[in-house]
Symmetry: C2
Subunit: 216 residues, 2 copies
């Protein structure tokens, strides 16, 4: 392939906030954790967080980055519990509406009109119409740079039967082609879901066999 | 909307590893960091990591989870540097091939046939054909559960001119509709990129104005 023409960007040459917007546009597509939490005063918060990933296999832990100290982080710090609801296709307007900077006393569930569903293991409610809910207990809230990483252990998983299939290992496997999970990109950009394909990891032993059969 | 039929999964009822596979299938779609690093012995490693996100805005920091203590984590621990190359559409077979468990002395660049490009601020090379490279310096490697979170500060960004556009804030904005960034799902599933759309966050003040005009 030909040589690429590169634009080389030294973050120090950008205006304040520029490097963040640049990095934000380079870490894509990002899964969206639609996080429900309850304040110590009993107000149910719901907010999207797209800096979200898995941080431990055993015990199973997920984490999201709180940019600034927002209601989600404050509630989870105070009460120790939250739910990650999956951001399914079709919910983009609702999810975006819950990113409005409502005052702490207003519940996004009520302001936006999102139906609650009781959780099994934690106090904060699930989003009734979200196909997957991960009920989590706070493990830690770790400051990193000027943000906080909110880490939770997954205590319980609830999955919609209509958009999942039986699985011998996990009981139910959520079907991305039925859920169309949304993703965030840079700027105000979001991604609709594309198509899926399967690729198996190739063990080194098999790779060697393939190489030697090529050489014959 | 109607009431959903939920499958309720208590992780304790799953076989070992089951809850991990379940959570893995629920945190989707996941951006892929195609991480290059160099060992203390000078061997260039390249491996995909799909537990990857932004962890700080200022200074700009990204992180990926090392499941087990793999070559990437060991190299970054030893040398303090790495590059995150964007996983662009069309590279799926190359990316998957670099996930083969080659012995530490074999470079995935050479074994798979990936072209190197020199970095500007760090020793590990970039992937020459990847449209975005984030050159990073190790900030910390933090144990979480049975994994390690590898945290790096972004020192320099290199962007392909052909698949990006001028931007007043970031100099260049990578165009997802030209790059088609790949994503990982559960099992051996990967996602091709879909379409994009724009949604602006609604400030509370505007939300109030809209509500009051509705009420009139």
């Amino acid at each position: 392939m030909g040589v690429m023409t590169r634009h080389e960007i030294d973050p120090a040459t950008l205006a304040p906030g520029g490097v963040y917007k640049l990095v934000n546009a380079c870490v894509v597509p990002r899964a969206i954790a639609w996080v429900s939490s309850r304040s110590a005063d009993g107000v149910d918060n719901l907010a999207p967080h797209s800096y979200f990933t898995v941080v431990s296999v055993d015990p199973p832990m997920i984490a999201f980055t709180s940019v600034g100290w927002k209601d989600s982080a404050a509630n989870i710090d105070a009460t120790g519990e939250f739910v990650v609801n999956m951001a399914a296709g079709g919910f983009e307007d609702d999810i975006n509406a819950t990113s409005t900077d409502f005052p702490a006393g207003i519940s996004e569930f009520d302001a936006v009109g999102i139906e609650r569903e009781p959780s099994r293991r934690v106090i904060p409610p699930r989003v009734a119409q979200s196909p997957v809910a991960l009920e989590c207990r706070k493990v830690d809230i770790t400051p990193i740079g000027n943000c906080h990483l909110v880490i939770g252990e997954v205590l319980h998983v609830a999955i919609d039967e209509a958009t999942s299939e039986p699985d011998p290992v996990t009981q139910r496997h959520p079907r991305p082609d039925a859920i169309h999970p949304l993703a965030r990109l840079g700027r105000n950009e979001w991604a609709h879901f594309g198509t899926t394909f399967d690729l198996k990891r190739v063990p080194y032993r098999k790779w060697l066999e393939k190489q030697s059969s090529r050489g014959e």
